[in-house]
């Protein structure tokens, strides 16, 4: 009777937790309720953890559980509080990889113990373990790449064939374990070893620019792995939460790939990331420079200015200066808006986070679909550290590698001011047709310094 009660209590708390996760995710879909959303989900997590702990038999294992939670939690708490907003993508990758690793550990324990598993349990334990292990090692590589620990994309001929071979080996090992060769320690160990190797081998050749899509994919995969291991453990909260994340993450991955004008297959297997050497842009006209003082006056006496920030701005830590400039312009009666391309930061929405950090209210920020019609009425489009996302070649030049990518129509504005470090090409090495247009003026210099000069110019303009 007592154990039955404990069972029921645990299951009920898991049910509540699952409901809180779904409601929390839903609340995260609007900026107004988003903070409460993550807190609801957090409450669900605390509830599920505490109830699980409360009904554990107090043994050595329970002490180990508490010690492990405190260790892992403390490390993650400190690192999560310290990480800079620009480094957020790789931190998410790291935490995600840890989740995948935990799912793989659950699978490993179930498989090593090897007792009384049904066919369905064994199969899902294997699949979940495989996905979790790939997500674990793959996410660690993604983290290392974005953190700058690995700077080269390792590529060699026959790489795809090698990855395929590893996958086949994993499949054979997995099937052997499922088909009744129970608790064969070396076999299960080999299975996990090759799964981990596959995650590394798959991720190493992918370029840094494509990494956000990969991180999002691994996030979805970890969700799936958690869901499958939830089935193995008869844990409804894990099944539901894992599958919700699996589906949501898959959709998010597709949205990101679409925003970058790439298919997922392309990202994973084509190695475009940083290898497009050909510069096939159309540079009609020459780049015409402008002084900061002139540009400042131009903006101060405009009706409407649209700012297009890119990752270059974040690298220069110029967000705060830009917001200062915009506040000055707003005081002058100028209508200021921010136009954000989906891939402006290192992942969709990253630039919004960086602007929010500088204090820019989210209702001044518009995404591509909302803002594109408004460039016609803008007096000035101020481009800071963005390049490919405003290149009109994407609309018109079929020979361009970025042809077909949705872009911000900055070329429709009456005047375009581009803040740029020098005359070189952009991130992808493609010439930008926008820079050569008649209404475009180039303001050369470091983003932070150039915006500082603009602030002085606007102040001087009265």
């Amino acid at each position: 009777m007592n154990t039955l009660n404990a069972q029921t209590m645990t299951q009920l708390s898991y049910l509540v937790a699952a409901a809180l996760f779904i409601l929390g995710l839903k609340r995260m879909s609007s900026p107004v309720t988003a903070v409460s959303g993550v807190r609801w989900a957090g409450a669900g997590m605390v509830l599920a953890t505490l109830v699980t702990l409360a009904f554990m038999t107090p043994t050595l294992n329970m002490a180990l559980v508490v010690a492990a939670i405190l260790t892992g939690g403390a490390i993650a708490w400190v690192s999560g509080k310290r990480v800079a907003m620009t480094d957020m993508p790789q931190m998410i990758a790291l935490y995600n990889g840890m989740g995948g690793g935990a799912a793989a550990a659950i699978a490993a324990i179930a498989l090593y113990r090897g007792n009384e598993h049904s066919f369905a349990h064994l199969t899902l334990a294997i699949i979940g373990g495989f996905i979790g292990a790939v997500s674990f090692s793959g996410s660690l590589i993604a983290f290392a790449k974005l953190q700058g620990l690995i700077t080269k994309s390792v590529r060699f001929s026959g790489q795809k064939a090698m990855n395929l071979a590893i996958l086949v080996i994993v499949l054979i090992l997995g099937c052997t374990v499922i088909c009744g060769v129970k608790s064969e320690l070396p076999l299960v160990s080999l299975f996990f070893a090759f799964s981990l190797i596959l995650g590394v081998a798959m991720t190493l050749p992918i370029g840094g620019a494509d990494m956000p899509v990969v991180i999002s994919l691994y996030n979805a995969l970890t969700g799936l792995a958690v869901s499958f291991e939830g089935f193995v453990l008869d844990n409804a909260a894990m099944i539901i939460a894992g599958m919700v994340v699996g589906a949501a993450g898959t959709l998010l991955t597709q949205l990101m790939a679409k925003a970058m004008n790439r298919s997922l297959g392309n990202v994973l297997f084509a190695n475009f990331g940083e290898s497009s050497g050909a510069s096939t842009g159309t540079m009609a006209g020459s780049q015409k420079p402008i002084e900061a003082s002139d540009a400042g006056v131009m903006m101060a006496f405009s009706q409407k200015v649209i700012v297009v920030p890119g990752y270059g701005l974040a690298v220069a830590q110029g967000q705060h200066k830009v917001w200062e400039l915009c506040q000055l312009l707003i005081e002058h009666g100028v209508l200021v808006k921010f136009a954000i391309h989906p891939v402006a930061g290192r992942m969709p929405g990253h630039m919004n986070v960086l602007l929010a950090e500088a204090g820019v209210p989210y209702d001044l920020i518009s995404d591509l679909d909302e803002i594109n019609a408004e460039f016609d009425t803008a007096d000035v489009a101020l481009i800071i550290g963005a390049n490919d996302v405003v290149n009109p070649d994407a609309r018109t030049n079929k020979a361009s590698p970025i042809f077909g990518m949705p872009i911000l129509s900055a070329d429709k504005a009456k005047n375009v001011i581009v803040i740029k470090r020098g005359q070189g090409q952009g991130f992808s090495g493609i010439d930008n047709a926008l820079f050569g247009l008649d209404q475009t003026r180039m303001l050369y210099g470091d983003a932070q310094a150039a915006v500082g000069q603009l602030i002085q110019a606007v102040k001087a303009a009265g």
Binding site: M28, A34, I106
Partner: protein, 103 residues
């Protein structure tokens, strides 16, 4: 014990739920949302706790211990960074009010 077919139903319904919940999210929230969903699969923590609780050999204890550390990292880290990001999103009205209080 969750029956195989019932489990399939749960898998299916949860997948639809996840898809529906996310499909209405504006682009500006994509990064925090990915981070938020990353936090939600931190529920793997309870599974790792149960797995370590049932471990009966030193090897399984080691694996389970690592599993719980990783899972706790996923849950705690995911929560901290998501909350940090979402806290920064303020509307123009709220922003002005916040500044007044600050001074």
């Amino acid at each position: 014990m969750i029956d195989g077919v019932i489990a399939l139903y749960i898998f299916m319904l949860a997948a639809f739920t996840g898809y529906e919940v996310i499909s209405r999210v504006p682009v500006i929230l994509h990064t925090p949302l990915m981070s938020g969903s990353n936090f939600v699969h931190g529920i793997v923590l309870v599974g790792a706790m149960v797995a370590l609780g049932a471990a009966d050999t030193p090897l399984l204890r080691v694996i389970g211990f690592i599993g719980v550390i990783l899972a706790a990292g996923n849950a705690v880290g995911g929560y901290v960074v998501t909350e940090r990001m979402l806290k920064m999103f303020v509307s123009a009205g709220k922003n002005a009010a916040g500044k007044k209080q600050g001074h």
